[in-house]
Symmetry: C2
Subunit: 195 residues, 2 copies
C-alpha cells in the first residue's frame, strides 16, 4: 500500500492505472526505468536533427512540439501535465523527423529511454495493452483535431481550441497558438480583440 517509490511517481502510476492494473513487479520496473528530469523555460527537449530516443511524461509544465516551415516555427502540439511527449514517428520508427520540442515554461518530467520501454513491452504484456489503449485516446483527439481544422472559420477554430485547452490556454503565447491553428497572429489578435 504505502510505497517506497519516489513520491513524485504517484501521478504517473495513476495515469497507467487509468488503463491497466499495475503489479508490484511492474511498479518496480517502472520506478527503476523512469528518470526525473526538469527543463527550464525555453530549453530544448528534442532536436529534429537527431532520432528521438526518449519519451517524457509531464508532471507539470508545458511542452511545445513544433516544426519549421518557410523559416517559421509552426506549433504541432501543446502538451501538459499527465501527457507523454516525444517526436512520435521518430520515437516509434527510430528515424529522423521534422519535430522540435521545447519547454514553454519550467517543466518537470519523467523520462524513459526507448530501449527501456521496449524491455517493458517485451516482459509485461499489460504494457502493450496500456500502449494500445492510451494511443486510442490520443487517436480520438487527433480525429477531433482534423475535423475541427476543416470548414471552420478562424474564430470557430479558436473557440474549439479554447475548449480543448481550457486549462492551459492562458499560459500559451499568442503567436504559438496562431500557428497551431493555422492562422496568422494578426487574425488571432483581432479575434481576441472583438468586444
Amino acid at each position: 500500500m504505502a510505497s517506497d517509490y519516489h513520491p513524485e511517481m504517484r501521478k504517473i502510476f495513476t495515469h497507467f492505472e487509468q488503463y491497466i492494473k499495475l503489479s508490484e513487479e511492474l511498479r518496480n520496473e517502472l520506478s527503476a526505468r523512469l528518470e526525473l528530469l526538469t527543463f527550464k523555460k525555453g530549453q530544448m527537449v528534442h532536436d529534429a536533427n537527431v532520432v528521438c530516443t526518449k519519451s517524457y511524461f509531464i508532471q507539470n509544465g508545458i511542452f511545445r512540439t513544433y516544426f519549421i516551415k518557410d523559416g517559421k516555427e509552426v506549433t504541432e502540439f501543446f502538451s501538459a501535465e499527465g501527457e507523454w511527449v516525444n517526436s512520435p514517428r521518430s520515437f516509434m520508427q527510430r528515424k529522423i523527423d521534422i519535430y522540435y520540442i521545447d519547454a514553454i515554461e519550467h517543466t518537470s518530467t519523467f523520462c524513459i529511454q526507448v530501449n527501456n520501454l521496449m524491455y517493458l513491452f517485451n516482459h509485461f504484456p499489460e504494457m502493450e495493452r496500456y500502449a494500445r489503449l492510451s494511443m486510442g485516446t490520443i487517436f480520438g483527439h487527433l480525429l477531433e483535431r482534423i475535423t475541427s481544422m476543416r470548414f471552420t472559420t478562424a474564430k470557430e477554430k479558436y473557440e474549439h481550441f479554447l475548449q480543448v485547452y481550457s486549462d492551459i490556454h492562458f499560459r500559451l503565447p499568442l503567436g504559438m497558438i496562431a500557428s497551431y491553428l493555422g492562422i496568422t497572429q494578426e487574425t488571432l489578435s483581432r479575434i481576441r480583440g472583438e468586444r
Copy 2:
C-alpha cells in the same frame, strides 16, 4: 506451410505478419473469427446512429468514412485494400459517434466482431502488440494529414492528396475529395481544369 484456411485469408495474414509472427494457433483463431463480407457499391457499412461493433479489413474495393455537417456529407477518410475500417471512437469506446461508412465501389472484406477481437487481445498478447504497432502507422498518417491541412493552399492540399492516394484517387468522386480536403467542389474542379 500449405494452409487449409480460406484462400482469401492470405492477404490479411500477410498484413498481420508485417507486425507480428502468426502462430498456428492464432491463425486458427483468426480464421474462425473473421467473416468474409462483401458490399455493393453505395451500400451502407456503418450507421452513425448505432455503436460500431465490427471492424472490416478491406480485401479489395474502397470504403468512405464520412459525417454530416450542415446537412452535407463530409468525407473523413477513404480506405482501400489492406486497411482496417471502423468508426474509431465508436468501436474502441463502445459509444455512438458521428461517422457513417459506406462502400464507394463493390468491396469485399473480412469482418471481426469487437467481442471476438477482445477475446484475441485477452488470449494473444501478440495481438496487443499488433494493435499497438499498426496504430502507430496510422498515427503517422494522421500527423501528416494534420500538417498538410494547415497553411497549404487548396492546390497544395490537392497535390498532397494525390500523393497519399496515388493508387486510388482516380476512383474517387470529385465532390467527396473536395469535402475530404475541406474545399468546395467548384474550387477543386477549377484546380483540375488548370491546363
